[in-house]
Subunit: 342 residues, 2 copies
């Protein structure tokens, strides 16, 4: 099999079961603490009763497990890391939702909206702590040196995530963000964790150093392509099938890649700057902003950039000359994620 | 030497230097991110210029380093862990300050007051991440199995901290907190990290399992004694030398151990419950609340409990039959911290 969906169907139940074990309350007096985490992960409702809500797509653990199998490892040997990475990602979402003042996620109220900012900060800290603790389970499968190497990958990406988030928040306050600075921000905020997901799988599947490096590069460019695609959807989302609200990034004046491109355009830039420095946008401003950005060539440029990153991702994969079915499924997943042929 | 102060004088410069290296900005674009951490640690002022502000007492790293030397280890072999523990403690303070809505710490505005809640959450997350990453430096001194064991101690205490904080926030909303529940809360919020500080030092000094366990028990009871003492100071603080504002815990209606004891008193309890359920206290209510708590015997009972914990702490130390100067300095530090003879 080389469709990622078949692997997904096989991995997902094991992943969810493992995650649920990690999030199980260890004592009744702290049950609510753990159940708020379960709420975020889709397993509890607002009254903390068992539920099956729309959860995340579990892309990162899928990448980790696929990479492990692709290089010849067993799924079991990477499962604790896959769980860890998904919990780390969700910790960052819980805190991001507070930091971005987001009232909903996946169609449900965010933790801070339901239980307040103090509990939400602490619930995020707990999920962060559990994400790291579950990595110790790797010791059942790997020698200590390798477990430490997995911890090192994990700890490095945590620092990168906070640096990316710092830049993201700082960029909100200014129109003077260069394309290079923006790319550095999304390297930390998005690409680093996707790179780590793939690299971690390769490490735990006992890949050679060059393969591990190539897989990390694949993940990095995949993450960059994914983010630029997401930026395009945030502005012209109505034209493609997406769960996101239409042109949501315009209404929030989010300075994503196409906007930054537009702001630097010699003709269109000055007008865009006025608008982005002016009063908040409403629904009726959306078509005009979209048109200005199109006029600046921002959409075409963003699509070209996403395609370039996608190609670089696939080139890194091909460089390994691995041809296992799981390796092909990684290729397949890359196509599904960035939604274009390269 | 067996005064902890002499050890402190020797450890502190090395500790501060190491921490400063960990917190050094890796690149100009994220300098502010790291400088906010440096602000919290006392090395920068509100404009992020170099400064020397009143810092924390560095009690936890001191305990860690003393424990390592006490069992025969070298300071260098425990220094990364001491740095890690102090950063972990400060991460928790940065988030606690947001969660408790505290405008100042150590006489200066808190991070969230200066740079907003979103940046403060992220700065805390970064310090948390750096606290873990520095533990990898242990690999220069210890075999991988032991480094992993240090990681395990660290990761377990992180989970305990969030559980304690969860209970602390939940207890704010109710008058129905038992003494047992309160003790469980401070086990997580205070005692667990102090226990880990001492145990980590013993582990890295190559202590036997029984010694390591005895040291952990020492730390745990020391933490409990320390917290109960702190609770007493929070209510009757004007009678002892302290940097805390007088009776601050009364004005915020914090339900510390003496208050919980008073709320359960058959005669005084009902009156206290009315008052704690009623309108906010002002300065003029303080003497009456203090008197009611004294009448309930809360102060005497709290002092007896702190003395009991202190004795249990010292008993655990004595059980090891270690007599090194650094071991004696641990004893000395315990006396200094809980401020009473047992």
């Amino acid at each position: 099999m080389s469709s990622y969906r078949e692997y997904m169907a096989s991995y997902l139940p094991r992943l969810e079961k493992y995650m649920q074990e990690v999030i199980a309350p260890p004592a009744p007096d702290v049950a609510q603490h753990y159940e708020m985490m379960a709420y975020h992960l889709g397993w509890r409702d607002e009254r903390l009763q068992p539920a099956q809500a729309k959860a995340g797509k579990r892309v990162r653990p899928l990448l980790c497990l696929l990479a492990c199998e692709a290089v010849g490892g067993t799924v079991e040997a990477a499962l604790p890391a896959a769980v860890s990475i998904e919990l780390l990602h969700n910790f960052s979402l819980i805190h991001d939702d507070i930091e971005d003042n987001s009232p909903t996620r996946r169609g449900r109220p965010t933790i801070w909206r339901l239980w307040g900012i103090p509990q939400a900060i602490n619930v995020g800290d707990a999920m962060f702590s559990l994400a790291r603790r579950v990595l110790h389970d790797l010791s059942a499968w790997h020698r200590p040196e390798r477990v430490l190497e997995a911890f090192r990958l994990f700890d490095n990406v945590c620092v990168a995530l906070t640096e990316g988030q710092h830049l993201d928040m700082r960029f909100e306050e200014t129109l003077e963000v260069s394309e290079a600075a923006y790319l550095r921000m999304i390297e930390g905020k998005t690409a680093a964790l996707i790179a780590t997901s793939v690299e971690m799988g390769a490490l735990l599947g006992d890949a050679t150093a060059p393969v591990r490096q190539a897989y990390a590069t694949f993940g990095r460019y995949l993450g960059l392509a994914f983010q630029i695609e997401d930026d395009i959807l945030g502005i012209w989302g109505e034209e493609v099938k997406t769960g996101k609200s239409t042109a949501s990034d315009i209404l929030t004046k989010k300075k994503t890649w196409p906007v930054i491109y537009g702001l630097h355009h010699p003709q269109v830039g000055p007008r865009l700057r006025e608008l982005y420095a002016g009063p908040p946008f409403t629904e009726k401003d959306v078509p005009y902003i979209q048109a200005l950005l199109e006029e600046a060539g921002a959409r075409q440029a963003a699509e070209a950039l996403a395609t370039q990153f996608h190609r670089q991702a696939l080139a890194a994969l091909d460089e390994t000359s691995i041809t296992s079915p799981a390796h092909m499924a990684l290729r397949d997943l890359a196509h599904a994620l960035v939604g274009r042929e390269a």
